[in-house]
Amino acid sequence: MELKIRKSSNIYIIDIQGEMDLYNSYKLKDLVMKMLEKKVTKFIINLDKVEYIDSSGIGALIYICSTIKKMNLQLLVTNVHGSVKKVIELTKLMGYFPMAATVNDAIKNL
């Protein structure tokens, strides 16, 4: 799994590529926690290039989402499709994660 950060004004976009599985998912959690320490307030997590996700990956997203909600900061998850969408649907969390269709849509909404 590869994580890349880019910026659009004060919004930080995390592009994830590869497999969000039991071996990798903690890296995303660690990265977001570090960004929170640096006072980032607006996040976009872009799942467009995620080829595989398991319960650890979903768990990382839940942890990030609940932490950001508790701190009253902003997060949008984008480009949820394919197997990622299927796995989120199995956990019935499509309504729990704040989502936007694309990164551009998310930028407009944050």
């Binding site: 319960s55 650890s56 839940i62 197997s83």
Partner: protein, 180 residues
């Protein structure tokens, strides 16, 4: 509202190993995905939709390796499996003391489904991840919720609860159009 739950039944048909393939693995967490691929390669392509079968089997093996056998390399995970175009069935047994909190988990899941039914996303936040004192940072706490949905033909534990059996039925392909 969905009322799916984990069943405890030593005599369930899902535990019938007739015609199943069998493999056993050491409890090496680093190799869980590799072991999973060795199992899934026997499945016909029709039922491997979007890696979901692989992902769901990997969760079962991970649970056995990590929560059952506590990653003790001397302990084995035993797996029986059967695949056809219409069904996937897996039985996974570990040498641990069993998933002793099934009833508690079912109660937790009932509350989760209630929140979903009422679209109470505020309260749902308390039920998105099932955790025990033994859970660690890398446990998502959501694998069994998805498993119960995916394995639509049953998810059963033995009374000792160190053995899980799951089954999924796949719809038969429509091969033609019925004309009256």
């Amino acid at each position: 509202m969905s009322n799916k739950m984990i069943i405890i039944d030593d005599k369930s048909n899902i535990f019938n190993t007739d015609g199943c393939f069998y493999k056993e693995f050491p409890s090496d967490l680093r190799q869980v995905r590799y072991f999973t691929l060795l199992i899934v390669q026997k499945a016909p392509p029709e039922i491997k939709e979007l890696n979901l079968l692989e992902q769901q089997i990997s969760e079962l093996i991970k649970n056995a390796v990590k929560h059952g056998n506590k990653c003790d390399l001397n302990k084995k995970v035993k797996i029986w499996y059967f695949f056809s175009k219409e069904e996937a069935r897996i039985i996974v047994e570990d040498e641990g003391k069993g998933f002793l909190k099934i009833r508690e988990w079912n109660e937790f899941n009932k509350k989760r489904l209630q929140c979903l039914h009422e679209e109470n996303f505020e309260e749902l936040g308390n039920y998105v991840s099932y955790r025990t004192p033994e859970s660690d940072d890398r446990d998502g706490g959501n694998a069994m919720f998805a498993a119960l949905e995916y394995w639509n033909n049953g998810l059963v534990f033995t009374e000792k609860a160190n053995k899980i059996g799951v089954s999924k039925k796949f719809p038969k392909n429509q091969r033609g159009i019925d004309i009256n």
